[in-house]
Symmetry: C2
Subunit: 149 residues, 2 copies
């Protein structure tokens, strides 16, 4: 019987023939084991958030197809949407010329990615020297999170 195919859209063997086991590797050294990952809505092109991944979060993201970060504040893996249901499904992954950041295009399963209730975490724009809210909320964060992220 063939091995089960993982739920993610990418097949990412950790070992195998051809010496290709580390081709997915990224440069985590510059930032003490973390790299920034930009999340962009695949359809609208809107940048939704930026999170950090360690190697484990990165592998989880690829293997499961669900964007998974390393939470710096909670010091643990954090699958986006694990409490809210607002999961980010991976559609495409790109890395940059230095292998030290990621761009992940997603389909967002919720009305917003921001724990404050907005579609995007980037909901404040600079006007003069002030940060100004530039859009309305897309959901009630208290109803979803009840005080936690």
């Amino acid at each position: 019987m063939p091995a089960a195919v993982p739920a993610g859209i990418f097949i990412a063997p950790r070992s195998g023939s051809g010496g290709c086991t580390d081709t997915m590797s990224l440069d985590f050294a510059k930032l003490d084991g973390l790299i920034p990952a930009v999340v962009q809505d695949e359809e609208s092109g809107r940048v939704l958030m930026l999170g950090f991944m360690n190697d484990e979060a990165w592998r989880k993201t690829v293997e499961t197809g669900n964007v998974t970060f390393f939470s710096r504040s909670r010091n643990k893996l954090w699958m986006k949407g694990e409490s809210s249901g607002h999961v980010l499904k991976v559609k495409e992954i790109a890395t940059d010329c230095d292998d030290d950041s990621l761009l992940i295009k997603v389909k967002s399963l919720g009305p917003g990615v921001c724990h404050a209730g907005y579609e995007s975490c980037f909901y404040r724009r600079l006007e003069g020297d002030q940060w100004v809210e530039s859009e309305g909320k897309t959901y009630d964060p208290n109803a979803v999170y009840g005080g936690s992220k």
Copy 2:
């Protein structure tokens, strides 16, 4: 005579009345004085690169209207395009809910932002477990940089 208006599109006084001098401030503490800044093409919506800013680079970016990073490898301020002429003109700046990352929409004055010759630094996509170049170069980096960034 009124003070000269800086070249940037934002007016960002460092001191003045109203106690608003620090409203532009961001949370640089989480990452040893740096925050990641995502650069997005204002017209196409393409994410072009990700760089890091310290407080000085951030202020320079706002005051001049030219995206300025802090180069971790060279340990100094780096106005994007200072050697190539491929300057990134600021069109809009947003910050995220935690004040610890930036999204900067720009007009890019060059054929590409990547020192390797591509429009975007994110020119490689994950296919299976391999990073694969997904587009051609838009300029000859040797002709522009001659071996340096």
